[in-house]
């Protein structure tokens, strides 16, 4: 059978049994029972098993994600023991002499409909909680397996339509060797998580869930983006060999862990990491990161029902800063909107969310949310080397307003006697072409730039990066992108500032030589890309690459750029 192809989302090779993360068939027949007491006993035992599973999941979530993420499971546990739900089910079994499945379904449906019909989105979401919980109980009544990624206790490869943040959070790296999904791309949430968990992954296979059956052995080749189902013995041998080579390569890379990132002609650049949570910091340090170039703070706000408090945020920021010691940590203020929704903010649906009310636009209007975050950051600033970055800046006015709010909060804290660091650099993400074009004007006022290429590319080529039909327009090496990047770097250097990059492009082996030649100072990437990048940079000459600059900037197409770099760097 030909391998399935998808997008190589996270490096490495995994060989293991498939574990399908899919809801099993929960259909049942309504039957009359002669012994209602036995049905009630079946129900009680299904409830008990479900509770003990949820307790385990909660414990796991607490350990891997913190108390906040574990809260949802506390609520689920309460639903399982809710007298208003359980008593009517038991009564129904007793009075109508029906099977437990039917009584559970009828009663739960009544509550689900009640919550779904409420005019408050938050309440409607509670219906999903009840559905989740009753599915688990139903599965136990029917004796079918309900997927619990947190409870996996043998080596497997997880297969799913897509993985949500809470799914990935439950994955235990000790047992989950890799995963593969039907949908997603290199920058989708599941792909980013796979790289931070450092497990091989292939996403966007379109139909891997249909192709694989329970118990099949599969191979995930996260280097080439291939999935092999029920491989032959020869194939297994071949991939085991590859796996070993990859491990050896990793060991080679690891030798550079404590080395600086220096080109062969002596230019030092900074290789730093993108992170989403304080738990990611160990990965940064293990991979020799020289700092954090992008701390995405959205995860503090996602997967919950209310805004995080100032103290919760403070603890997270402090933890990252302390773990990183004196190394720089660039924190991006809240970038919500676009593809990242927060249901509890009840924002109206938009026609063009990527061009809409998001990130700094939202923060400047909802300055209550913004100020809370800034206060938490300022309070944490004395615990390390903090730099603050505003996302989605389109105009100088936005930057000035955001900076003014930051300084105001700083003054308030200082006056109240709270210690705040005095040398916090304040910079911006450059992801909107208007800002890249007038970077010279921005450079006089900001302390640094960090180019966010994922968005800069989609805005410059006007191609939605979530839309597969226009994915051919997602061209990092397009001369227009190179010219914008060059403009930003030149502008920064003219004012004695630094310029970094925190999109996927910064860790790409074709882009790295280009960016070195253009003079980029800081490269922020997935932690696992740092050592391969450092290895590559060691063999490159900055002077040579800089001499290609004018030629590259005047090329006609992305293909021309790529072919040129491949030839010059033997790739």
């Amino acid at each position: 059978m030909a391998p399935l192809t998808g997008i190589a989302a996270s490096n490495g090779i995994a060989i293991a049994k498939a574990y399908k993360l899919a809801i099993p068939d929960l259909s049942f027949e309504k039957t009359k029972v002669d012994h209602p007491d036995q049905e009630i006993e079946r129900l009680t035992s299904a409830l008990a098993i479900s509770s003990s599973e949820l307790e385990k999941i909660k414990k796991h979530a607490r350990a891997s994600l913190g108390d906040e993420h574990a809260e949802i499971f506390s609520a689920h546990l309460l639903v399982l023991s809710d007298p208003e739900l359980i008593d009517p089910i038991k009564d129904k079994i007793q009075n109508e002499k029906v099977n437990a499945e039917f009584a559970l379904d009828e009663t739960a449906q009544m509550f689900i409909q009640m919550f779904e019909s409420m005019d408050n989105e938050y309440m409607r979401e509670r219906a999903a909680d009840i559905k989740d919980v009753t599915k688990r109980v139903m599965a136990h009544l029917l004796g079918v397996t309900f997927p619990n990624p947190a409870l996996i206790d043998e080596e497997v490869i997880v297969i799913a339509e897509d993985l949500t943040p809470s799914d990935t959070a439950q994955l235990n790296k000790q047992f989950v060797q890799g995963f593969t999904t039907n949908i997603g791309g290199r920058t989708s949430h599941s792909a980013i998580m796979a790289r931070s968990l450092e497990i091989p992954a292939v996403v966007g296979t379109k139909n891997v869930t249909e192709q694989v059956n329970k118990g099949d052995v599969i191979i995930v080749d996260g280097i080439h983006g291939e999935v092999i189902i029920n491989p032959t013995e020869d194939e297994i041998k071949f991939y085991q060999q590859k796996q070993e080579e990859f491990e050896q390569q990793k060991n080679e890379w690891a030798k550079l862990k404590d080395e600086p990132s220096v080109t062969k002609d002596g230019t030092h650049v900074e290789l730093v990491a993108n992170i989403g949570t304080p738990e990611d910091v160990s990965g940064v340090l293990n991979n020799g990161g020289e700092g954090v170039g992008l701390y995405r703070t959205e995860f503090l706000y996602m997967g919950k029902n209310e805004l995080p408090t100032e103290d919760e945020q403070f603890e997270a920021y402090k933890s990252v800063l302390e773990q990183m010691k004196d190394k720089p940590v660039v924190v991006r203020t809240l970038d919500i909107g676009g593809d990242k929704e927060l249901t509890y903010l009840e924002l109206p649906k938009e026609m063009n969310p990527f061009l809409g009310y998001r990130a700094i636009r939202l923060c400047l209007e909802r300055d209550d949310i913004f100020r809370t975050q800034l206060r938490a950051l300022l309070r944490a600033s004395t615990y390390g080397n903090l730099k603050i970055m505003f996302p989605m800046i389109a105009t100088l006015d936005e930057f000035r307003q955001a900076k003014a709010i930051l300084l105001e909060e700083k003054d308030n804290l200082v006056q109240a006697g709270t210690a705040v660091s005095d040398d916090i650099e304040i910079g911006i993400m450059v992801e909107i072409p208007s800002t890249a074009v007038i970077a010279r004007q921005f450079a006089k006022e900001v302390d640094f730039f960090s180019i966010g290429t994922n968005d800069l590319i989609q805005y410059t080529l006007a191609a939605d990066r979530m839309n597969e039909r226009v994915s051919y327009l997602y061209q990092p090496y397009h001369p227009a992108i190179l010219n914008l990047v060059h403009n930003v770097i030149e502008a920064a250097h003219a004012e004695g500032k630094w310029a970094g990059m925190c999109g996927e492009m910064a860790g790409d082996s074709i882009a790295i030589p280009i960016l070195l030649g253009l003079g980029l100072d800081e490269f922020s990437m997935s932690a696992t890309s740092i050592l391969p990048a450092r290895t590559q940079i060691k063999h490159l000459s900055k002077e040579e690459l800089a001499s290609y600059k004018d030629q590259l900037l005047s090329m006609n197409t992305a293909d021309e750029v790529e072919a040129f770099i491949r030839e010059k760097t033997n790739q």
């Binding site: 023991s81 809710d82 007298p83 208003e84 919550f115 409420m118 938050y122 309440m123 029902n305 209310e306």
Partner: protein, 89 residues
């Protein structure tokens, strides 16, 4: 002889998931029957779905009623939770 107390919710998000969970857990630790009255409706305070179904907003006046052998202790404990969770008074 039941005991009761009325409190005003001051939390700007009202009684949301987390505090509701704490309230229901606390109520469940007492043997007394406990009810929460709001907006003309009375629900079982030991029921998470009951509490959530009320959608109690900021500014709401809610009445807690406890009835049973440990009613006073139960009522005090619930009012304490409401205060310590910053929900209201």
């Amino acid at each position: 002889m039941a005991v009761e107390r009325t409190v005003t919710i001051t939390d700007e998000t009202g009684v949301h998931a987390r505090p509701a969970t704490v309230l229901v857990n606390k109520a469940g630790s007492f043997s007394s029957d406990m009810n929460l009255e709001y907006n003309g409706k009375s629900i079982n305070l030991k029921s998470i779905m009951g509490v959530m179904s009320l959608g109690i907003p900021q500014g709401a006046e809610i009445k807690i009623v406890a009835d049973g052998s440990d009613e006073q202790e139960a009522l005090d404990a619930i009012v304490d939770v409401i205060k310590s969770e910053g929900l209201g008074e």
